[in-house]
């Protein structure tokens, strides 16, 4: 807020100075044409001053960098706290820690009578109004991660292909053994095809809350305190046990590439391409 006002007043002063110069200087020093240019500059700076309310983050780097690719920040968007139960982001001098809380609800509306549906909606309304500080509640659908399974299948295919190649090089290898290995390779291939045929999706609900502090540990401690209060509220509304998400699981809620896992999707893209070619 303070920065915003300083930027605004600074630019407004520059604009006023340009205006004063264009008005005060006599024509013998500055011809009318030059005065108009100064007036134009004063108006442009005035427009910039007004825009600085929302666009200070953009205007200053544009003016400084004068490039088509403006770098607002070179730093990573976040880093993991040492306790691995929150992520940290730096905003000027402050640290902001964000904690993610899993809300394990396994309910289906199709199995609910009308009263239960109404009650569930009311519970959700209560959930939204639970906290005094800003809290974000999210319902997230993402592609199920089959990366490790797909990798296991690919390894199995590679192994059986190697086995097949070795057997074919051996002069005394029996035909049955070669056929058996070929069959095994075909089986793994079919399994990989069927696994990567369609994407599978998961739906999860979670809440996130942030705390600010001048030190990392202070921000984490504030965020954790808020999270604990929130968890007790969520628990009492739904009668469930929410938990704080830790470690690499956090990436699922932050990184776009965790929403669509790499191998799972690459397999799907390859399959689509193959189908298009055929």
């Amino acid at each position: 807020m303070a920065n915003k006002i300083v930027n605004f007043l600074g630019l407004l002063m520059v604009s006023a100075m340009l205006l004063i110069i264009s008005v005060v200087l006599p024509v013998s020093i500055m011809p009318y044409f030059a005065k108009l240019i100064l007036l134009l500059l004063a108006v442009i700076v005035d427009i910039l001053a007004f825009s600085s309310r929302y666009y200070a983050y953009l205007l200053m780097p544009i003016l400084k960098q004068r490039s088509r690719h403006i770098i607002l920040s070179k730093e990573d968007a976040y880093w993991m706290a040492t306790s691995a139960d929150s992520i940290l982001h730096r905003n000027n001098e402050d640290y902001i820690a964000t904690v993610y809380i899993s809300i394990p609800l396994y309910l289906s509306a199709t199995e609910m009578p009308d009263e239960q549906k109404l009650e569930f909606s009311r519970q959700v309304s209560r959930l939204v109004g639970i906290a005094r500080d800003p809290v974000r509640f999210t319902s997230q659908m993402y592609v199920m991660n089959k990366d490790s399974y797909i990798q296991q299948l690919r390894d199995a295919i590679n192994l059986s292909e190697n086995e097949e190649a070795e057997l074919e090089q051996k002069p005394d290898a029996s035909k049955d053994a070669i056929e058996r290995v070929k069959g095994k390779t075909a089986m793994w291939r079919n399994l990989l095809d069927s696994i990567s045929k369609d994407l599978s999706f998961e739906l999860i609900s979670y809440a996130s809350v942030s705390g600010v502090g001048s030190k990392e540990y202070e921000a984490v401690s504030v965020a954790q305190q808020k999270a604990r209060e929130l968890m007790s509220g969520i628990g009492s509304i739904f009668g469930i046990t929410p938990s704080i998400i830790t470690g690499m699981q956090l990436k699922k809620f932050i990184e776009p590439d965790s929403l669509i896992p790499f191998s799972t999707v690459t397999e799907q893209i390859n399959k689509n391409l193959e189908e298009e070619v055929i």
Partner: protein
């Protein structure tokens, strides 16, 4: 418009007004006419930025081909409608759509019975929506408790102003449409005051949908994202939401919300005034 916005607007326009009063310093003939044109253009630009900055700014960056890097590994497109991440040659484009449910409820002045029916239908509608979507998305609700007394004072102030407007409209032979519009606004404010009187806690909410598309090229990712946004708009229309694609500064703010949420309501409210 909030107080801060009014201050920025008044001071910026004041400077141009002062310039208008000094037009005699620009000589005679064509020069003062050009000066007037420059000043009028300035006023138009400031007013346009005040009401539609989220159209003008992305328009300018799109025209100049300017992209932004908000953090390492991410960039915002020149149209400021998507955040892109490149992971090993695959492009992940993320877009945002507004989805304000509570705003709708207040606008419609819905009766409690209708509310009940709508609440009963909501879980099933959401489940149907989930079944019909085959791409990743996130539906976010950021909520924040508000000070009851402040909200009540503010609403009562609004009601008094609208009552004054109504009496002026009735005295000034205003047409039926104007009177109905003022009456509707009064009903909305009264409905909010009644809710608070019944013990309902006022909360401020901000709701939006985030979706991520993938592509082997930037264009493929953008095309997929466009498609996903359209499908989300169709799917969520069952909830009678106001769904608008988020562009410009609000996209940047929502991107930052992925890593750090606002810690106070004032901070949150100051970020969104056009699209939420």
């Amino acid at each position: 418009m909030d107080e801060e916005g009014a201050i920025f607007l008044i001071f910026s326009l004041m400077l141009i007004l002062i310039a208008f009063s000094l037009l005699s310093s620009f000589g005679k003939g064509i020069y003062p006419i050009i000066a007037v044109l420059i000043l009028v253009l300035g006023v138009v630009m400031i007013l346009a930025l005040n009401w539609a900055d989220f159209i003008i700014m992305p328009g300018i960056t799109s025209m100049l081909g300017i992209t932004f890097q908000p953090a390492n590994n991410y960039y915002i497109t020149k149209r400021q409608d998507a955040v892109v991440k490149n992971v090993s040659g695959l492009f992940y484009a993320t877009g945002y759509v507004t989805a304000n449910i509570f705003g709708y409820l207040f606008k419609e002045e819905s009766a409690p019975e209708e509310d009940e029916e709508r609440l009963m239908l909501a879980p099933e509608s959401y489940e149907r929506l989930v079944m019909n979507i085959d791409f990743p998305y996130k539906f976010h609700v950021i909520s924040s408790g508000m000070d009851i007394q402040n909200v009540r004072d503010e609403l009562e102030g609004k009601r008094s102003y609208q009552e004054f407007e109504m009496s002026r409209a009735l005295q000034g032979n205003a047409n039926e449409v104007t009177i109905t519009d003022i009456q509707r606004k009064m009903n909305v404010v009264q409905a909010k005051i009644d809710r608070i009187s019944k013990g309902e806690k006022p909360i401020a909410t901000l709701m939006y949908i985030e979706t991520t598309a993938i592509g082997v090229s930037e264009k493929a990712a953008f095309d997929a994202l466009e498609e996903q946004v359209k499908r989300l708009q169709v799917a969520f229309s069952a909830f009678d939401l106001e769904l608008r694609r988020i562009v410009g500064r609000e996209l940047y703010t929502l991107f930052q919300f992925n890593f750090a949420l606002p810690v106070s309501f004032a901070e949150e409210a100051s970020q969104f005034n056009q699209q939420s």
